[in-house]
């Protein structure tokens, strides 16, 4: 997938655990895991806002676009 989620990197920088972040932003651990592992199909602005607020970062710090050369049919 072209969009990479660098949430675990940012969490490590801020020294915050999954459980702690999930509780702060009001997300279940399972959903946070889906987001961290890149299985998510979409991210709500409200979720992104809550993550950025909790980690004190920008959306660009969490999401990254990488051109993997895949062309959609």
């Amino acid at each position: 997938m072209a969009i990479i989620v660098n949430l675990d990197v940012m969490m490590a920088k801020r020294k915050i655990s999954s459980g702690e972040l999930a509780e702060t932003i009001g997300l279940s651990q399972a959903n946070l895991s889906i987001l961290k592992t890149g299985k998510a199909k979409a991210v709500r602005f409200s979720t992104l806002e809550a993550i950025c607020k909790a980690l004190n970062c920008q959306p660009g710090d969490i999401l990254e676009f990488r051109d993997d050369g895949e062309v959609e049919a």
């Binding site: 889906i34 998510a40 979409a42």
Partner: protein
């Protein structure tokens, strides 16, 4: 009070009734065909074995269809409606209708009114196929909604 559970029980009951009717139809195929030929205005004595074999062959997709319907109802019962599994059962139901239509179409070679059965079965197959396409799209949408964080 009428509710979802009672509606499902009624649907299941109908499936079991149809299954029982089908078993009875297959077991007494000879007797049924004999009676049919006897009361028919057209002379059909020569094609009696073809009638019996059409019933025997046609009962195979009919059993598959009824069992798939039963499994689909089980999926609905546990709340797994828009899943790959329910799409699979709908696909099987649709194809069994088409197979039934082909069997009936072959039957028209000795008894033309089988054509009505063939058309009805093919139309039913088409309706279920469109339903299957709708369910397949719903599965994609549900997956997207489930994985929207």
């Amino acid at each position: 009070m009428w509710n979802r559970e009672k509606s499902l029980i009624l649907s299941k009951m109908f499936i079991w009734i149809f299954l029982a009717l089908l078993i009875g139809f297959v077991l007494y195929a000879n007797v049924i065909v004999d009676n049919f030929v006897q009361y028919s205005r057209v002379e059909l004595n020569a094609v009696k074995p073809f009638f019996v074999w059409t019933i025997y062959v046609g009962s195979i997709p009919a059993v598959v269809l009824l069992l798939s319907m039963q499994k689909l109802l089980k999926c609905i019962e546990v709340g797994d409606v828009f899943t790959v599994l329910s799409v699979k059962y709908l696909r099987i139901i649709s194809w069994t209708c088409f197979v039934g239509a082909i069997i009936a179409l072959i039957g028209t070679t000795y008894y033309l009114p089988w054509l009505f059965v063939a058309i009805a079965a093919a139309f039913m197959g088409l309706v279920v196929r469109i339903l299957k396409n709708t369910f397949a799209q719903a599965v994609v949408l549900k997956e997207e909604a489930d994985f929207t964080i």
